[in-house]
Symmetry: C2
Subunit: 232 residues, 2 copies
């Protein structure tokens, strides 16, 4: 590390919570006839293209809740779920508020919180992140989101925005994430970066390459290992 | 109450934390030659006029940290503190990040948090509120601020913004505050309101009239009584 960071900002989907496993479990319980793994992967695959439509100006600013719903509407016919009513669609769309944390997340964050200010830096909206944190016991000091900065990662406004909120130089903020592209964009803004291995982000059927890449200040196999590296 | 609220949003300065007592204690320790009570009252007296300069467009959008500093610069000569250097001024201005909670605040919020989502709705900026919460042990589920909505209370954008963040009708949000004007503005936006008595907000030398006023859904003598009223 260059110098000790003051703020640890965390990517959430995939890094802190297990979107794939959580969606698979809910789908298996609610709609056992559907290929839950394929459904979860398809929903998530629509995520970057949907945000790109906002970034490009094709769509006005809207929250991830609304983008998740747009994608869901396109998916339902492909998975034989066109018959779902409005209440069922709303409930299903809110699965993203109910994502479960990786087993080490809450314990690691509690340790890190003793020494650092810990916040989210997620493209998820504030309400989603708050509801998720309350269910999953994620002890954030502050919830920051693309919704605050009106820009989706990897827009520099998000990374620089965290530093501005805390009136600190970017080098005193560390982004912690399971995605190298997110970390690279943060690094380009002057933030420190920590990679966290989440080999099962896309499920056991599609293990992810989590080998170290150059440029990150830290590379941790878990949130607990990250806490250890940071003296907590 | 009309119906049970989902979200409890709290005013902070005066309602959750004791700005007067905290500033008096720091001033007495740092600058014993100054009339600490008069200094605290003068600083706070500049608060509404400074926000009004932003609301009117005379000043561009800026955070409370910056407005506190503007007011401080005007105060220092009046109190014989023109000699303070930049580091001392910065430290003093950050006293607002170090405000201490009323003795019942953390305990009451912990009880309320068991059943409700509790958030701030303060004109204080996000970094200030986060630093304060960490020091004072305020267990917010989410920190919302004028900084998120780019508008200062009593602008309706703040009150309606909380409802929008959580995708709820305004009537499912309750503003809890020690100030009737704040509550009246929230009520005009359809929020429920709870008054919390803080008779010593301006110090023991200037006790505040905390008698009930019509229109509030609840009137509590403390945060613990509020928790009791709300079934926590």
């Amino acid at each position: 590390m260059r110098s000790e960071p003051q703020i640890l900002a965390f990517d959430v989907f995939g890094t802190v919570v297990d979107w794939h496993g959580s969606i698979v479990r809910e789908m298996e319980a609610l709609y056992p006839q559907v290929d839950a793994n394929a459904f979860a992967l398809a929903w998530r695959a629509g995520y970057q293209p949907a945000m790109q439509r906002v970034r490009s100006g094709e769509l006005p600013w809207m929250r991830i809740d609304a983008l998740h719903r747009l994608i869901l509407e396109e998916l339902l016919p492909d998975f034989g779920l066109s018959h779902l009513g409005e209440a069922e669609r709303q409930h299903l769309n809110r699965v993203w508020h109910r994502l479960q944390a990786w087993p080490d997340s809450a314990a690691g964050l509690l340790r890190l919180k003793l020494r650092y200010t810990i916040c989210t830096l997620s493209n998820g909206n504030l309400g989603l992140l708050t509801n998720m944190a309350k269910r999953a016991g994620l002890p954030w000091d502050c919830i920051l989101s693309a919704e605050v900065f009106r820009a989706y990662k990897p827009d520099p406004a998000c990374y620089l925005g965290v530093a501005q909120v805390f009136d600190l130089p970017p080098g005193q903020v560390m982004l912690c994430a399971a995605h190298h592209d997110d970390l690279a964009a943060a690094r380009a803004c002057g933030l420190q970066t920590a990679y966290i291995e989440r080999p099962l982000e896309f499920g056991a059927g599609a293990p992810k390459d989590v080998s170290p890449q150059a440029g990150n200040d830290l590379h941790a196999r878990s949130m607990l290992e990250l806490a250890g590296f940071l003296g907590c």
